[in-house]
Structures are given as structure tokens and as C-alpha cells.
Amino acid sequence: MMRRTPIATGSDWTFEVLEAYEQELARLADEYRLDTYPNQIEIITTEQMMDAYASVGMPVGYHHWSYGKQFLAVEQAYRRGQMGLAYELVINSDPCIAYLMEENTLMMQVLVMAHACYGHNSFFKGNYLFRTWTDASSIVDYLVFARKYVAECEERHGVNAVEQLLDACHALQNYGVDRYKRPSPISAEEEARRQKEREEYLQAQVNTLWRTIPGRQDGDTLPGSLGDDEDPLGLHRGERYPPEPQENLLYFIEKNAPLLAPWQREIVRIVRKLAQYFYPQRQTQVMNEGWASFWHYTLMNRLYDEGLVDEGVMLEFLQSHTAVVSQPPFDSPYYGGINPYALGFAIFSDIQRMCQQPTAEDREWFPDTAGSDWLETVHFAMKNFKDESFIQQFLSPKVIRDLKLFTVVDDDQDEMLEVTAIHDERGYRRVREALAAQHALAVREPNIQVYAADIRGDRSLTLRHVQDNRRPLARTVYPVMRHLHQLWGFPVKLESLLEDGSVARRYHWPLPDDEEEEKVRH
């Protein structure tokens, strides 16, 4: 039996001890080929943690009342003891900034370093979505630029004007993202240098668009355009603008809204850029948390095996770890949906198991994975997937059985709910598919795109919503349309389409008089 010489014992920590543990973790992480950005570990107080929380973890951010609301909510929940603060917060930046709370115990600090500084950090650096969509080296600079720009606008145009604009932009934030086209990296210096230039250029562009008298072209008539009898010269005919539907609403507004001032376009752009930065995080929650949990578990066990932590720390760790990756069943009062930590940790651990001790079932379901080099395989999984595809690819029957997953179909045309698949031979594939879909952003958020801007007519903007399985839009559509109308400056319409292409419902803003009532009734 090896003699244990722990670096420290008990629950108090000092900077020297943390540094010593950090070096050990770095050594082990290196063994596992975890490639990370440099770490910047910041020790902060509880209140600072609440501040960080309120600004969605951004180290600097522009001012907006909604962050104040967030702060008050966090503070209230924390004071009443409804909620513990997260032990850590980590920012996808280069260097990777991780916050450690001063009141954490020694065990917790080591756990957090393993989880955030090596787990999340390597995920940020390795995962394809982050590699493609975000630029970790420039985000902090960009945030500084954004904050300064917004503050300047507040000085020049008044806090209220800026606030209303930001309200409107925030409402459309989730639709300010290029889903398929890689954005150019953002850099603060570049941004500041180009901003002035862009301002003038953009305005010129917009003016041209709205001034152009289009030549006669064959093509679709615009929705709501005049019939041939009333328009014998065909002035209202022409290609629909934009020719292709646009998924990035904020981008479309930034470039095309007729009346926005240049500074307003720039703010739309800032909100859009930040939405783009957070876009990968929204799609990799299960993977990211699973990966970090998998590594903190592995690294903590290695520290114990090498005698660097004692039994007391290890017991405390196991208790904490178990709480983090527990999944209460659906009928438990503690159930709050699928716990991404639990699911992600289960899948990554299961991949390791399949590689090390494959069963016949694994060989049948995962011929490539079973028996392969586990480290190679988990790295491959971390790098090349997002939640949706990760679940589709790696959720094994064993994990489905362990979590006892089942699918219920809720159809408003059916009086009853129906259990369509459970954790059995017939159900594995269907459960997996449904769970993957549940984590797909495309399914979670309504699919809404810009369909047409009536540049030759009343300048109205038409959006199209394609319903997913007949699911309608929630009532929030009205306030969002109002915000959209503020940005566009002319009437906005939204057509909600069934999957067969027929229009199920139309929304207008400003509300036609008869619909005003209808909205009140809802």
C-alpha cells in the first residue's frame, strides 16, 4: 500500500496549495492530452459571483435594465436560500477566465479547477462549433468595445432611446445568428477602426436599396402587390426581396431596415455579434457539462490514486459529484427536466466503458467504438458533435436503460397522452431520436425567417414561421412583433405555416382594429 502524502488536508485553502494542485492537474491533464487555453483563475467573493451571474458571465458588458433584473432575482433567491450559487463560472475566452468563490472549501476549489480549467476549457478549444463560431482571443476586447460604444450612444442619444433599442434587439436575439454560414472573427480594434467606415457605407447601401426603381423582371409578385389590372405597367412586379428567405433577422434588419440611424444599426450589430458568440453554448450544454464532469471525476480519482488528496477530501468530493450528476425521475418533486450534467456524464462514461469492456450489445450497436482506444474516442466525440448529433451518435441502450428513458407523445388532437417508446429493444432507437430532437435548437425554437420586404409597396416586412408538428407560437409573439415593428419602422406581418405550406394563422403589427379584441381575449 502506497503511503499518502496529500498536498493539503482539511477544508481551508491557500494560494500556495491551490497552485500546487493546479500544477498536478496540469500534469495529469497533459497525460490525457487535454489541450487548453491558458488559464486565468480569479478568486472572487459571493457578491462578485452574483455580479458575474447577472451579466451572463461576461466579464464586462454594456448596461441594461435586464441585467439588473437578473441580479435582483439571483440575489433574492440566494438570500432566501432557494439557490446556492454555482461554484464556478468559466468564460470562453483566451486566456480562459474561471471564477472561484472564496468561500468554497479546498475540495471544491480543486474540483472546480478540474471541471472548469481543464474540462470546459479544453471543450472550448476543441469543439468544432466553438472553433468555427467564436473567437476566444477577441471576445473580451469586443465586449469592451461594445460597452464603450453603447455608453457613448447613451451620452449622445439618451439612455432611454438606447434602452428601447436594446429591448427590441434582445427580443430577437435568438434570431440574430447565422446557423450555417461561418461569421468572420470579431476583433475589437478592427471593429472600432471599421465602425466609422461601416456607418457611412451602410447608410449609403440602405438608401440605394430603397431608392432603386427596379426594372421589370419576371418573377414572383410580392405578397399583397397589386393585380395586373391595377398595375398595367407592372411597376409592382419584380423579384421578391430578399430573393432567399433570411434566417438571421437581426442581420437583415441591420442591413435593410429603412429608417434606422447608423448608430442604431451598430447596436443591432453588437447584439447580433454577442448572440452569435453564445450560439455554440446553447447547443452544447449536455456535451460541455458532460465533458467537464467526466474529467473532474477522472482527474479527482487520479489525485486520490496518487495520494495527493486524502480520504476526507475524496468523500466530500464524491458526495458533491453525486449530487451534480443525479437525475431525479420524472415524478419526483425535484424533477426539473433532463439534467445535462447527468446525461452528458453518463454518455461520456459509457463511451469509456464501451471501449474498455465492450459487451456483445455494444459491438452490435457501436461497431466502431466498442473496443477502440477510449481516450481517442472521447476526444473524437468532444470535437466533432453538438448535443443533437452527440446523442444521436453515442446514446447507448445501456444509458437508456440506466436512466429508464421513455417517450410520451402529446398530441392536441388526441385526448390522451401516449407512451410511444420505452427502454426496450423496440424503443431504443425511437427514444434516442426523440431525445436528440429535444436537444436540437431547430426544434426547441420556432423556425422563423424573413420572407419578404415589400420594397416597392408599403415597405411592410413579412416573416414566415414554419410550424413543427403543428405547434403554434406562444402569445409572446405579440410583444416580439411590436419590438420588430419598432426596428423596421413599417408594418410587420408574420405568417404561421403548416408543414404542407398552407397559412394557419397571420399576425400583424400594428394590430388591425378587429384583432385588438382577439388579442385581449387570449
Partner: protein, 426 residues
Amino acid sequence: MTYFIDRRANAKHKSAVNRQRFLDRYRTHIKRSVEEAVNRRSITDMERGEKVSIPTRDISEPVFQHGPGGKRAIVSPGNKEFVEGDRLQRPGGGKGGGAGEGGASNQGEGMDEFAFTLSREEFLDFVFDGLELPHLERKNLVDLDEVRPVRAGVSRDGVPARINIVRSMREAHARRIAMRAPIRRALREAREALEEEESKDPVLRNPARINELKAEIERLEQRLEAVPFIDTYDLRYNHLINQPQPSSKAVMFCVMDVSGSMTQAHKDIAKRFFLLLYLFLERSYEKVELVFVRHHTAAKEVDEEEFFYSRETGGTIVSSALSLVDEIVTQRYPPSQWNLYVAQASDGDNWDDDSVTCRKLLLEQLMPRLQYFTYVEITPHAHQALWEEYETVAGEFPERFAMRQIVEAGDIYPVFRELFKRRAAQ
């Protein structure tokens, strides 16, 4: 590569601006809550923050979402008895139980109200929002006794404790440059001459001249050395002058009738009023002192406990209290140093003859020295002689004398606001 940074000492209120923005945005909601709280709270209770609730729908940040309806598949964990094909009742009316993301609250419990806590400061800000101390005139600088030392440049003399080091060193530096320059120049010339002399052919050299030059150089070097690094001549001192300044001290006289007709309920109402005034004064002055004067037929200065809670019976002579206040002002609070405020509460009873005395006392003695006099009459009944006499005083000093009637506890705050509301137009 890892850095540890200790940020604990950094400012912690990074969210202060955002928090303020939020409060400003929902000002009307919050004000309503605060007003209710002021009326509801017990007297000792003004010194803490307040929980405020705002309906969630008023502060939501809308985004496009899926509404209820349509068809959706939900995967949940923890299956116990279900098998494929089971059909279940919809749970309690709502469509789509479980893990759908349609629900607005992710904590499981419904939240119709957004609740948060105002800090004490914020609470008081809202309580006194839009209020102003009437006649907060800057007292005439001439009759002010209070002075404050302020910095007024630098001077050549002063006490060592006030030496301005930067300025002194700068002076010394300049002096050293000035004093050394001619010596250096002479020194350079002497050295050049010496070099020239020495570079001459040995035959032509003048040893006497060389010795002379060497002596000269040595002398100059000594002189250069002797220029002092710092001299008393260089010293500069921060100069302070005494500037008269408006008084930042206030004293508040609480005057209350404790005759038999004043019940404990009356006193509680009065106490709340005094308390509001005290909090308000405290925000405007650095130091606020309280003097409690109670009276029935005779007046007496008492401590707070006795003022509010001990019982007395007997008749009422208001002027006794007013003359006591006058006496105390004369003895302890010279108006040149103190801002004087009087708040009087009574149920309006007084000996008829005395009311006239009160008016005279106020008009002649007290009012010219006071910043403000407030009188609240706590009675549901018709006014008596005192009120009428006071109305005359109010006519004479409309800016500085205010009186209102309070019937029940709920009136206090509105009356208080009315008494102190900002008079923008005047």
C-alpha cells in the same frame, strides 16, 4: 500556463448601474409598494429595506416561443411501470407535462410575481422621492460661526506637518540647476584650459598656470559639491484658509400634547410623523439632533421613551411648550449654527386664552429663527381655537409654516408628502 488572480478586493457592485436602471424603469410599481409599506410598517421599522413585487407580465422579456398545442414528443427519465402503447390522462388540465421547454418557469414552481428586496438606502430614496426641505436656504454667510479649513494654494511658510513635498522638491531641483549652472560652466572652461595647457609642448608649458588651473578646478568642484540638495529656501507648505460654511447641523424639536385627550393611538400616529421627518432631515444634514418636548399644562424636556410612552393627564396649555422650545433654542442651539425644525402634534385642544399667546409667541419669538414649523392635528373632529390662530401664523409665513390635519394612520404619508413636496414653480 496558469495565473491566479485575487479579485476579492475589487469593487463588488459591478451591477449597481444595471440595478439602478431596473429600479428607474419600474419606478411607478416600486413607488406603490413603498407607499403601502410606509403605511403598514411599525414605527421602529423604517430603517430596513423592503420587499417589492412586480407582476411578471410587466417585466417579461418576450421572445418567440412555442405555444401549447400541436404534437410533441417528450423524453423523460425514471420510467417505472409504463410500457409502449400505454395511454395516459393529461395531467391536471395543462397540455404537455414534463420536459417540454414550453413552461416559463424552470424551477417547477409558478412565479406570477417578480420579487426582490430594496436596500435601506433605495427604500428611503423612494420614500422621499420628489420631496424637498422647504426653505433650505443657505444661511447668510456673514452670521455663520462655522468654518472649515480648505486648501488654498501653497505658501512659503507653514508648519512642518503641511510641507508639500512635490512642490518643495521641484523648487529644490530648479534651485540646484540654477545655482550649479555657472559653476559648471566655469568648471568646464577651466578643464578645457587645463587640457589645452597640458597638450602643449612640454617646453612651452607654464607650470604655474597649470597649478593655478588645478587649484581652480578643485575649488569649483568643492563649490559644486557644496550646493545643498534642499534648502529651507525651497520649502513650500500647503496653505489652508478658514472658509465659513453653511451649517450642516440641524435640530428637530418634537412637540407633543400628552394631556388626557391624547390616546396611545394618537401618539403612535404622531410618532410616525416625527420619524418620517427625522429620516428626511437625516438625509439632508450631516448631523441631526432630537429634542423631545411634551406638555399638558406645563412643558418638560424628556427622553424619547418617556415622550412616547408615559401617560399624563390634565389640561392643555400649548404655549408652555412653545416657550420651552424658545428657551432651549436660546440656550443651546444658536440659529447661526443650527438649522431649527419644529414638528408639533396635538389633538387640537387648548385653553382658549392660550391660543392667542401661542400665536404671539410664534410670530414674535420663534418663527424668525426657525427653518420650518410643521403642525399636524390628529383629530376627526372640527378644529378649535388653536387651529384658527395657527392659520394666521401660516398666513404670515407661508413658506415656513405648514399645518395639516390627520384623521387616521393612513393619512400620515400623504400628508407628509404634501407638506414637503417639491415646489418647482415657486
